[in-house]
């Protein structure tokens, strides 16, 4: 039996999502961040354990639902079909577990949610919802609030960052700062327009973007400080807003942390080198890449970038006659000789990635499912033994995820078999091939995700939190619900950070119990899509 207890709420909660905000970076920049300083002095700041893998899609889905990735199923941005095609894994909208602001809405609380990653399109809420990165286009519910976004010049993100950072790092950082400032302004304007809101939840992505590029480079603080300062200004303004409230809390939550990257592990190159996979090399394509693309600008050869038809024709000729993987460069799974490939890796470039055994779930399989355990065992042993030079182990751990991630939201996707987790300061790239399987990081990978993000809380109601010195992304949804005196729903894996003795118990509402039961029933009845 689920007991739901509510009081007439006068509580205001501001949950500031900061993609990639990192505890150790904040500690290092703290003297120059007034808002974070106030949080440290008057509230609680600690590390936040993220998901496995430490990816935004996976971690934000857990933050919103309070459910482990193995249950919500959104464990990456992309997955692999049985035809080896790379498909998007979909957005949080498609998951069977409700997000916490939908639950709040069912109990009458009003939310302003701006840019929650992996939410598209904006769906019906009690309040306002602006879709989040990587939305293909901006989507707002109710649509009348789109006027405010147009007025402030709202943008989802800065596109093509890898190329832009290469050409103009300072200009790109300034553009990101502008996008983040507008996002903060939009959030306050939407809240004013809505009036009587209970939860404000903006998500800033600037720290993730700049740390990917800057961490691990000389003078990284100059760029990274700009990212944290925009968020800090929002925090200061939000704290001022709560100052006059009797009950209120401001939270900072990130989806993962960051670390500087020294080396990139090219997992597919390693699989080829060890005989688990075979590539269809193209010497022509290699020559072009080695001596033309990397030497003279290809745009010059293609008679200027504006001649798109010519460039497209050259591309088609390249695919027709020069297909196959280059000796060094980007490649696709179809560049493998699939019948001779026992295993291949795919997924987002990050410190944890996935390996699939090319068994009879795939069209051009190399091994029967009944025999794949032997390959798996060999792979695990070999991966754990990889050394960079003679000393360092590249791989920290290999997890058998065949049964863990068997619910991936889409029936056209094949579940991965192994998750490879790199050691500190390494990232894993499954999309690049080279004769060496350990290379220097790319322009946009001098920083990459780590497993420790940040949690912070301050405000008039901070004494309602229990004592803890570490928490996890799974704990956020139950905590927010408990703050509004809604008990943790039985499907959630997280543990509330609210002191159970400080729940403002008043009257038991049967109607709320029924609402929770109906949601539970719907989830049980939802078949795997």
């Amino acid at each position: 039996m689920v007991d739901c207890i509510v009081v007439v709420s006068y509580l205001k909660v501001i949950l500031v999502g900061v993609d990639g905000a990192t505890y150790w970076v904040i500690r290092e920049l703290l003297p120059r961040l007034k808002g974070f300083n106030k949080l440290t002095e008057e509230g609680v700041v600690c590390g936040l354990r993220t998901t496995l893998p430490p990816l935004s899609s996976c971690a934000w889905a857990s933050i919103y639902t309070g459910v482990r990735p193995s249950r919500h199923g959104l464990f990456d941005f992309v997955g692999i079909g049985n035809d080896y095609g790379v498909h998007g894994m979909g957005f949080v909208n498609a998951l069977r577990y409700p997000v916490f602001w939908s639950l709040l809405g069912k109990f009458g609380f009003r939310s302003v949610v701006v840019n929650p990653p992996m939410i598209y399109p904006a769906f019906k809420v009690n309040g306002v919802l602006v879709s989040g990165w990587p939305s293909p286009k901006l989507s707002v519910y109710p649509s009348r609030f789109g006027k405010i976004l147009r007025e402030v010049g709202y943008r989802i993100d800065v596109d093509g960052l890898e190329g832009r950072f290469r050409k103009d790092p300072d200009g790109t950082v300034d553009d990101l700062v502008e996008v983040a400032k507008v996002r903060g302004e939009a959030c306050f304007r939407l809240s004013e327009e809505l009036g009587n809101w209970d939860l404000m939840f903006p998500v800033f992505t600037i720290c993730d973007r700049i740390q990917h590029f800057a961490l691990g480079r000389n003078g990284w603080r100059k760029w990274v400080l700009k990212a944290y300062r925009v968020v800090d200004e929002f925090i200061q303004r939000a704290l001022r807003l709560l100052r006059d409230e009797d009950e209120g809390l401001l939270f900072i939550v990130s989806d993962h942390g960051f670390q500087p990257i020294r080396k990139t592990f090219l997992v597919n190159s390693w699989l080829v080198k060890k005989g688990f996979a075979k590539l269809r090399y193209s010497h022509f394509r290699s020559l072009i890449r080695e001596y033309i693309v990397n030497g003279i600008s290809l745009r010059t050869i293609y008679w200027g970038a504006s001649h798109k038809r010519l460039a497209s024709l050259v591309g088609k000729i390249n695919n027709l006659f020069l297909g196959g993987a280059p000796k060094r460069g980007r490649f696709s799974i179809n560049d493998f000789v699939l019948r001779k490939t026992l295993a291949f890796a795919s997924g987002t470039i990050s410190p944890a990635t996935f390996i699939w055994i090319n068994d009879d779930r795939f069209r051009y399989f190399a091994i029967k499912r009944s025999k794949k355990n032997l390959v798996k065992e060999k792979l695990i042993d070999a991966l754990l033994d990889i050394k960079d030079g003679s000393k360092e182990n590249i791989v920290r751990d290999v997890v058998d995820v065949e049964n863990l991630y068997d619910e991936n939201g889409q029936s056209n996707l094949v579940s991965p078999d192994l998750m490879v987790i790199a050691n500190n300061e390494y990232t894993i790239d499954p999309w690049y091939v080279s004769s060496s399987y350990v290379v220097s990081p790319s322009v946009y990978r001098h920083g990459d995700h780590s497993f420790e993000g940040v949690f912070a809380a301050a405000g008039p109601s901070v004494n309602r939190l229990r004592d803890f010195d570490f928490c996890g992304v799974l704990d956020i949804a139950p905590t927010i619900l408990n703050l509004f005196n809604i008990d943790t729903p039985p499907w959630m894996d997280g543990i509330s950070l609210i002191d159970p003795d400080l729940l403002l118990k008043s009257r038991l509402k049967n109607s709320l119990k029924i609402k929770v039961k109906i949601i539970e029933r719907k989830m049980r009845g939802t078949s795997r899509k």
Partner: protein, 72 residues
């Protein structure tokens, strides 16, 4: 019963079960009719939540955003 309502028949044992819950609700539900209407409205609201599928163009735009960040 108001003019804008219609009668729906339910088994008597179910009626009795609901009546017990109404009595235990401490006045939150005035009668069985109000309880049944509340439950049905909640279920209909849940069922109405729309399913959404992405177009191939939208999926390509999403991948483009991921590539733009160097994720793929």
């Amino acid at each position: 019963m108001g003019e804008d309502k219609v009668a729906v028949y339910i088994p008597k044992d179910l009626y009795e079960e609901i009546k017990k819950r109404v009595d235990l609700s401490g006045g939150e539900f005035k009668n069985v009719e109000e309880y049944v209407e509340f439950v049905l409205r909640e279920i209909v609201k849940e069922e109405e939540e729309e399913e959404f599928e992405y177009t191939p163009e939208e999926e390509e735009k999403i991948k483009e955003r991921l590539r733009g960040l160097g994720y793929l």
